[in-house]
C-alpha cells in the first residue's frame, strides 16, 4: 500500500517526458516544414488536443485526496499470497 500521490508524481514525470518529446517534434516540423499556414494549423491542432487532454484530466484530478492509500495488486491476489500454512485445511 502507498499513497495515491506517488502515482501523481509518476504521472507528472511521464507528462514532462511527453512534453519534451512533443516540443522537439514541433521544433523539427516548424524548422524543416514549409512556412505555410498548413504547418502552423497542424501544430496548433497538435498542441490544442494535448492541452485539452491535460487540462481535462487535471480538472478531474483536482478533487482527489492524494493521501488515500492504494494498492496496484488486486485484493483477490493478495488474499491468495497472504494465506499461511495454517489457513489451508488439512486433508483428512
Amino acid at each position: 500500500m502507498f499513497p495515491l500521490g506517488y502515482l501523481l508524481v509518476a504521472w507528472l514525470i511521464l507528462l514532462l517526458i511527453h512534453g519534451l518529446v512533443s516540443l522537439l517534434t514541433l521544433i523539427q516540423i516548424l524548422r524543416y516544414g514549409s512556412s505555410s499556414s498548413g504547418t502552423y494549423f497542424v501544430c496548433f491542432i497538435f498542441v490544442g488536443v494535448i492541452a485539452l487532454v491535460v487540462l481535462g484530466t487535471g480538472k478531474f484530478l483536482l478533487d482527489i485526496d492524494w493521501n488515500t492509500p492504494v494498492s496496484i495488486i488486486p485484493q483477490s491476489l493478495t488474499s491468495i499470497f497472504g494465506r499461511t500454512a495454517t489457513d489451508i485445511p488439512l486433508q483428512p
Binding site: 504521472w11 507528462l15 511527453h18 518529446v21 524543416y32 505555410s36 487532454v53 482527489i64 488515500t68 492504494v70
Partner: protein, 195 residues
C-alpha cells in the same frame, strides 16, 4: 512555396516546378492504428462501467484510470504526430535545373541530396496494385548516367504526368547546359569521368 530555402545556392532563374510528398493514402495505416490505440482506453472505460459498475465509484480508482488513460492517449497522439511529421518532412523538389531529395529519418536524422537535371538519363514511372491504380499514385525512378546515382520518388500522386514533365525539364536543362559549354553534353561529362 517557401521550400526554396532548402535548396542550396538556388539561382535567380531557377523555379520550383514540383514539391512532392508521398500520396496521403500512405498515412491511412497510421490513422487506422491510431484509431485502435485511442479506442483502447475508451473501450476499457465502457466495458468496466457496464461489467463492474462499482469500479469507478471509488475516486482513487477513477483517478488511477484517468491518469493511465490520459497518458495512453497522449503518447498515442504523439506517435501519430511523429508519423505525420515523418511524412510531411520527406519532400522531393523538382526545379527547372535539379531535383532535391529531402528525407527525414525519425526525430534527429535528415538527409538532403540533389542531382542536376542535365545528368538524368532515364525516368520511369510505376503504378502497381489496385489502390494505386484507382487513386493514381506510384513510384518514379530517376536514373543518372552515373550507375550509383538513383532517385526514387515513392508513392507520389500522378507519377506518369510527373515523369513526363521531368523528361521535358531534363531536355530543356540539357539544352541550356550545352549552350553554356558550346557543345553537346557527352556521357563522360554526365558521369564526371574523364576517359
Amino acid at each position: 512555396m517557401s521550400l526554396a530555402r532548402f535548396i542550396a545556392g538556388i539561382q535567380s532563374d531557377e523555379e520550383i516546378v514540383y514539391a512532392l510528398r508521398r500520396f496521403w493514402f500512405a498515412l491511412i495505416p497510421d490513422f487506422i492504428g491510431a484509431f485502435f490505440i485511442f479506442a483502447i482506453p475508451v473501450g476499457t472505460y465502457i466495458y468496466l462501467s457496464n461489467a463492474q459498475p462499482a469500479f469507478f465509484q471509488d475516486p482513487a480508482r477513477f483517478a488511477m484510470f484517468l491518469m493511465g488513460a490520459s497518458l495512453f492517449f497522449l503518447y498515442g497522439w504523439l506517435f501519430l504526430f511523429q508519423n505525420f511529421a515523418d511524412w510531411y518532412l520527406d519532400v522531393w523538389i523538382v526545379t527547372n535545373r535539379r531535383i532535391v531529395n529531402i528525407e527525414q529519418h525519425g526525430l534527429f536524422g535528415r538527409t538532403t541530396s540533389e542531382l542536376m537535371l542535365y545528368n538524368v538519363q532515364d525516368v520511369t514511372s510505376d503504378i502497381r496494385g489496385f489502390f494505386a491504380t484507382m487513386f493514381s499514385y506510384g513510384n518514379i525512378s530517376i536514373q543518372t548516367a552515373a550507375e550509383k546515382e538513383h532517385f526514387l520518388f515513392e508513392n507520389v500522386a500522378h507519377p506518369n504526368e510527373i515523369a513526363k514533365r521531368i523528361l521535358e525539364l531534363t531536355h530543356d536543362a540539357r539544352l541550356v547546359e550545352e549552350s553554356h559549354m558550346g557543345h553537346a553534353v557527352t556521357p563522360e561529362e554526365m558521369t564526371g569521368k574523364e576517359e
